[in-house]
Amino acid sequence: MKKGEKIEPGLAARWQAEREKEWRKALRRQLSVQKRLTIERQPMPEQPPEERIKNFREVNLGYSFELAMAEARRCLDCGNPGCVSGCPVAIDIPTFIKYIEVGELEKALEKIRETNSLPAICGRVCPQEVQCEKNCNLGRAGKPPVAIGNLERFVADYLCLREDRNFQERQVNEVCAGGEKIAVIGSGPAGLTAASDLARLGYRVTIFEALHLPGGVLAYGIPEFRLPREILQAEINYVRSLGVEIRANFIVGKTASLDDLREAGYRSFFLGTGAGLPSFMNVPGENLTGVYSANEYLTRVNLMKGYAFPDYDTPVPRGRRVAVIGGGNVAMDAVRTAVRLGAQIAGIFYRRTRAEMPARAEEIKHAEEEGVKFNFLVVPVRFIDDGRGRLAGMVLQRLALGEPDSSGRPRPVPIPGSEFEVEVDLAVVAIGQSPNPLLIKQLSGLKLGRWGNVEVDYRTMATSLDGVYAGGDAVRGGATVILAMGDGRRAALAIDNYLKNLQC
């Protein structure tokens, strides 16, 4: 079984049964395939670039009710849907879209939440273009795919925020009062998903979070202009409402060891500790003031609200000429943040070309609209000191694409003698991160891979330690929110099996 493949047996049959229900049949008859094919894909309303570069509010504004209905009608409700096989958490996509079409938004949300506790987040940050939307059958008719992500987000926004306003009054679920105790380490997407699935299965789940706010990379990494904090808060409150307890400022491996938790009665563990270790390039001058890891830069802005300094105490460096090194989503987040913090020039410096950039198409598009300059086939070989320990510029070397490397992408080869200088006063290194070693390095017997990642059996997410499971970036290095959630989901099922077998 490959990474991110289907979880449960019998799902396809359940989806088919849903599709055969009378209301679905009637709906299909109501509007012919021909008519459905004539509806254009509804564009996502956006804040105009010249406005949004001056604020940290969300760029995508979300569908209105009318836009969502129109988009839902584009879905053909096909007999052999391609979308569902592309979803790492196996959402019954056609069913939730058809519920939108008939205006039953509560039922649509319920359907999504059967397999996904964080729809408002996934609707925003999932790379739908390479997952569900990639295999949409509309493509065969030469049409753009149904905007599944936009619809998911619409349903979630429409209901979750409203629900969240009543959160205080809602009773924390008491079904789990008698269940076994399970510890989830890390409150990022993998941990939140594992925790909510386990709580639904009747376990008493505690999430231990090292930072002072829950959310992991959703809180410290992803900027507010992609994921507003009240949305994140609402989703986390939903997880809490399932009976999950979240302990912030608790660093497992420091505040208490895994063995301490075992002694405190926790029977099984899920390690969702993320990829918190930033990579640097190890070139001269990298420790000058003015050179930051993307993790530091984004954490200052997102988690600590540095953009609101001095109302918030944590400052964030504001550069005039900003260079972000890297070509992934983190690099896009960093460079777009720099634009919003008032940079005169903000540029991406990437060692391959546009075609090889790992960032999502939408992020690249948004960055371009916001005036970000893209520099390809270059790599910094040295950072230049202004004589007082501050960054003044960098020496870049030009590269050419060579033979494919182990990742299948062409290897960038340095061109000798091609070095040149650029003036920059802020550089952000966004070339990737590896699994956070703080906890996993101290667990003796835990098998790690060559990048320091936790080795697991991808079917169950079981590690080499009995009763200890892992998922998300701790396992994958730097992947996506939704793959982490798929891991959390598979691990929850496996933990349930593990504990049931122990009792027998």
């Binding site: 090292a210 930072l211 002072h212 410290y220 912030a248 400022n249 608790f250 660093i251 420091k254 505040t255 208490a256 918190g276 270790l277 930033p278 640097f280 190890n282 990298e286 420790n287 000058l288 003031t289 003015g290 930051y292 890891s293 993790n295 530091e296 954490t299 200052r300 600590m304 609200k305 300094f309 001095p310 109302d311 918030y312 105490d313 944590t314 400052p315 460096p317 007082r388 320990g389 501050r390 956070n436 070693p437 703080l438």
Partner: protein, 283 residues
């Protein structure tokens, strides 16, 4: 949220807080630090663990009232809450199995070194404690520390300014009188760490300094605290904060500590204009 159980001004600019944090108290060890967040808009700042009480579930910090965050902490009263306490973080230093250890504590570092003096003494080491302060009025915890030291030396700024001994000379004298010294451990301001490291290098003594670079998360996630030791880059929060000061790139260390100097002034100005007024109103 963690409750303040004791808030005390030890000397004119050094404060002590006893905070409720039962899990942290259980795991705290000498030489480690905590991340403390004063309030919901506050920074995460690293403070040395100055003591703990496992039964009562409390930890103590001693800090210099210097910038916006420490101003906020210094103004807390018994019963107030801080936004968060996380830890214990960092590694405790490798302590020599036997022999004499020279502890050098300056300013707030006297508090941070106290648990190390206690641990060393209980392990059977000989402990010489050198306390550095502006003047006798800035010295605190003397009796407490003397209980765990075999020698107690004071060093004041006036000694430096006037005809008195210089730190280097004092160190050499201590080395002569205490032939068995196997290591020096230092907590205090950067300048003290630097000076003692110089002296340690001259005397050929291993000099472990407790670095205090700018940090954000304190758990190895951001790299704000990177330092160069022996030509390699380390994260002070997880690889340190104890390093051999003889091998540190001090120029880089001083530069990086100054990265946000202007912003620090600005934050302090805001806190002083708004925060203290609010405090005044409440009283």
């Amino acid at each position: 949220m963690n409750r303040v159980l004791v808030s005390e001004r030890l000397v004119p600019n050094v404060y002590r807080l006893v905070l409720e944090a039962p899990e942290v108290a259980v795991s705290a060890r000498a030489g480690q630090f905590l991340m403390v967040i004063p309030d919901s808009r506050g920074e995460r700042i690293p403070l040395n663990v100055a003591d703990w009480d496992r039964e009562r579930g409390t930890v103590e910090v001693v800090f210099l009232n210097l910038g916006a965050s420490t101003r906020k902490l210094a103004s807390l009263r018994e019963g107030d809450l801080v936004e968060g306490v996380a830890g214990p973080l960092g590694r405790s230093p490798d302590l020599p199995v036997s022999g004499t250890v020279l502890l050098v504590g300056g300013c707030y570092g006297i508090g941070g070194l106290y648990p190390l003096a206690r641990e060393l003494k209980e392990r059977g080491n000989r402990v010489i404690f050198l306390a550095e302060a502006r003047s006798p009025a800035f010295l605190y915890w003397v009796e407490r520390i003397k209980r765990y030291s075999d020698g107690f030396v004071e060093f004041f700024r006036q000694d430096c300014l006037e005809a008195g001994e210089e730190l280097g000379g004092l160190m050499a004298r201590i080395k002569r009188e205490q032939a068995e010294i196997s290591a020096i451990l230092v907590i205090g301001c950067s300048y003290l760490l630097f000076r003692i490291s110089e002296a340690g290098a001259r005397l050929g003594l291993k000099t472990m300094v407790n670095l205090n670079p700018i940090m954000v998360d304190g758990t190895g996630m951001c790299g704000a605290c990177r330092v160069s030791v022996g030509g390699r880059t380390f994260f002070a929060c997880v690889d340190g904060p104890w390093f051999d000061g003889r091998e540190l790139d001090w120029v880089e260390y001083f530069d990086r500590r100054k990265a946000f100097l202007r912003e620090e002034e600005k934050a302090l100005a805001r806190v002083e204009s708004e925060f203290w007024i609010k405090r005044g109103e409440r009283r």
